[in-house]
């Protein structure tokens, strides 16, 4: 089994349409998607996110998140905290690198997500380019949201209609990132065709 950890934005981009999403095995490597409790905390304290994603509080989604959460032992929590501080210290020592090309410096919570990936050997899924740069620095496995969708397509967990539906929602919500947009006519060329001239 290979754990795949979704950050808040990735969860919010996919969870409403791909049902069920968390806790199910798929693909040859038995990928299992999960989220940290941080997602719950971030959405609950953010009025804008709650009003933009009202389905988040529905029982179906809450139950799924609860059942897919991973509990950490005291030792793991301590290791997680040390790893988080190393990642965050690395960012703060050179913030400059994380402020160009659409990046933003990974926050303390972002570093916690990557640290979790390290201690549980999970693949982190995020569209945050700063987190990708940090993960690359530390040789940590990381995917973009579209890469996860592509793997789910290969495993026949999603079909072309659903992919079109997800892209339409990204456009409708003004939530289309540069990486999702680039993948639309490259990795998903069979769904959307080549990029129009």
């Amino acid at each position: 089994m290979t754990l795949v950890l979704l950050d808040t934005n990735t969860y919010l981009r996919l969870a409403k349409r791909i049902r069920p999403l968390l806790g199910m095995k798929f693909g040859q490597k038995d990928y299992v998607l999960m989220v940290l409790k941080d997602v719950e905390d971030e959405v609950r304290r953010n009025r804008t996110l709650r009003s933009k994603f009202p389905w988040f509080d529905d029982e179906e989604f809450g139950t799924e998140r609860d059942s897919a959460q991973i509990r950490l032992t005291a030792d793991e929590k301590s290791t997680l905290n040390n790893a988080r501080s190393v990642l965050r210290g690395h960012v703060l020592a050179d913030v400059d690198r994380y402020t160009s090309g659409g990046r933003q410096p990974p926050s303390d919570t972002d570093c916690r997500v990557l640290a979790f990936g390290q201690i549980r050997e999970a693949i982190v899924v995020t569209d945050d380019l700063g987190m990708h740069l940090l993960a690359d620095d530390f040789d940590l496995p990381i995917w973009h949201g579209w890469e996860l969708l592509s793997k789910m397509k290969a495993a026949k967990k999603v079909d072309n209609d659903l992919i079109r539906d997800i892209y339409a929602a990204l456009e409708r919500n003004d939530d289309m990132t540069a990486t999702w947009l680039k993948a639309k006519h490259t990795d998903f060329a069979r769904v959307f065709g080549p990029k129009p001239e």
Binding site: S85, H90, D139
Partner: protein
């Protein structure tokens, strides 16, 4: 930033585990010479190896890495009441300092001449002389009302950049935060606008004291001097004398408080600041104390009718302000170059809203709104 492995804490961690350097090298999959070089400070582990070192020895970043102290941001909090400063507060403020570094390159050229106070003695006459010298430099007499404009001009002239923030009235440890970047010789002063108008001028004067005494920034004596200087600057002994003469003729505590309150209103400072300056004056001059207790003054001051409005409400009614209004006020009212510099940086580098969130320590939706406005 030049980084060196904290050899002492690594050696202590090895001793606790009963390991030698060779065992550590094997565990990490590196050569023994590599570990020796790290501990001698001639080399530094790759990021992935550093992470493995942290989990293997159960050490955090600060225990593993010795940072160049000369490059570290110097922090001073203006805390709320009896708020207790925790490691979390310090780490957050230091992180804000690190976030500010890329912005420095977008600020206007620094001034070469700055005001510095060398005599930071707390003795009454010495402090009064220091405050009088600053008032003279501002071109105002000892009994004149010191305006916000006077204070704001001094920040700008001394490379202290005001960052007006709306951190809320209650849920925050500090009401002002001073971050000095020593290597860049620039200071950022975060002022919480969600504070009472009557306190705001005192905090500004307190922060100005930090700007004038960079050598004391982040130290307890710096806080003591800043508090004493702020009081002496806003309400010097000449004013304290008048207030004392007026108040000492009153027969009841409420009459005394009313007399002090007239001065507080006229100078737009808190009743408690006036009481405190008068009490200090009385003590220095050996006069009879006013027949009112500090508890009675506190009780009067804490009533809403005395405390008045929040600065944010005065500036922006209705709240919350549109991002454009807020950014304009930072520039227009506080003469801050923070947002113009931030705007150029965001446009030139394509930095995401998460940077704005972290450098201002605000919620992401607010940061996103400011980010969108600056990129409009």
């Amino acid at each position: 930033m030049h980084k060196v492995v904290h050899s002492e804490s690594v050696k202590s961690a090895l001793a606790i585990k009963g390991w030698d350097q060779k065992q550590l090298a094997e565990e990490l999959g590196v050569s023994g010479q590599a570990v020796t070089n790290w501990l001698r400070g001639v080399d530094f582990p790759r990021p992935a190896t550093l992470l493995k070192l942290a989990s293997t020895l159960a050490l955090g970043f600060d225990q593993l890495v010795l940072a160049d102290q000369a490059d570290q941001p110097v922090i001073a909090f203006r805390k709320k009441g009896a708020a207790k400063t925790t490691d979390e507060h310090v780490l957050r403020a230091r992180a804000m300092g690190a976030m500010l570094k890329p912005l420095v390159g977008y600020l206007p050229a620094r001034q070469s001449l700055r005001t510095q106070i060398s005599d930071t003695a707390l003795a009454y006459e010495s402090l009064q002389a220091t405050a009088a010298a600053v008032r003279a430099k501002l071109g105002i007499g000892q009994e004149a009302v010191l305006s916000y404009e006077h204070l704001i001009s001094q920040f700008a002239e001394n490379d202290a950049i005001i960052v007006p923030v709306m951190w809320g009235e209650k849920n925050r440890h500090e009401n002002a935060l001073h971050i000095l970047l020593p290597a860049d010789k620039v200071t950022f002063i975060y002022l919480n606008l969600d504070t009472h108008l009557e306190d705001f001028k005192f905090w500004m004067a307190h922060e100005l004291a930090h700007v004038f005494t960079p050598a004391l920034a982040g130290k307890d004596e710096g806080e003591d001097f800043a508090d004493a200087f702020a009081g002496a600057l806003l309400f010097p002994k000449e004013l304290a004398h008048h207030a004392y003469v007026n108040a000492s003729h009153r027969r009841t505590p409420s009459g005394i408080i009313s007399a002090l309150h007239d001065f507080a209103r006229a100078h737009m400072i808190s009743l408690y600041s006036v009481y405190n300056e008068v009490t200090t004056y009385v003590s220095a001059q050996g006069l009879s104390p006013l027949k009112v207790t500090s508890q009675q003054v506190h009780a009067a001051r804490n009533s809403d009718s005395v405390r008045g409005e929040l600065v944010s409400a005065t500036l922006f009614r209705p709240l919350p302000p549109e991002p454009s209004t807020y950014i304009s006020a930072a520039h227009g009212v506080f003469k801050s170059v923070f947002f113009p510099a931030l705007q150029v940086m965001l446009r030139e580098r394509g930095t995401g809203a998460g940077y704005v969130q972290q450098v201002m320590s605000i919620a992401l939706p607010d940061a996103q709104a400011i980010h969108d406005e600056l990129l409009r």
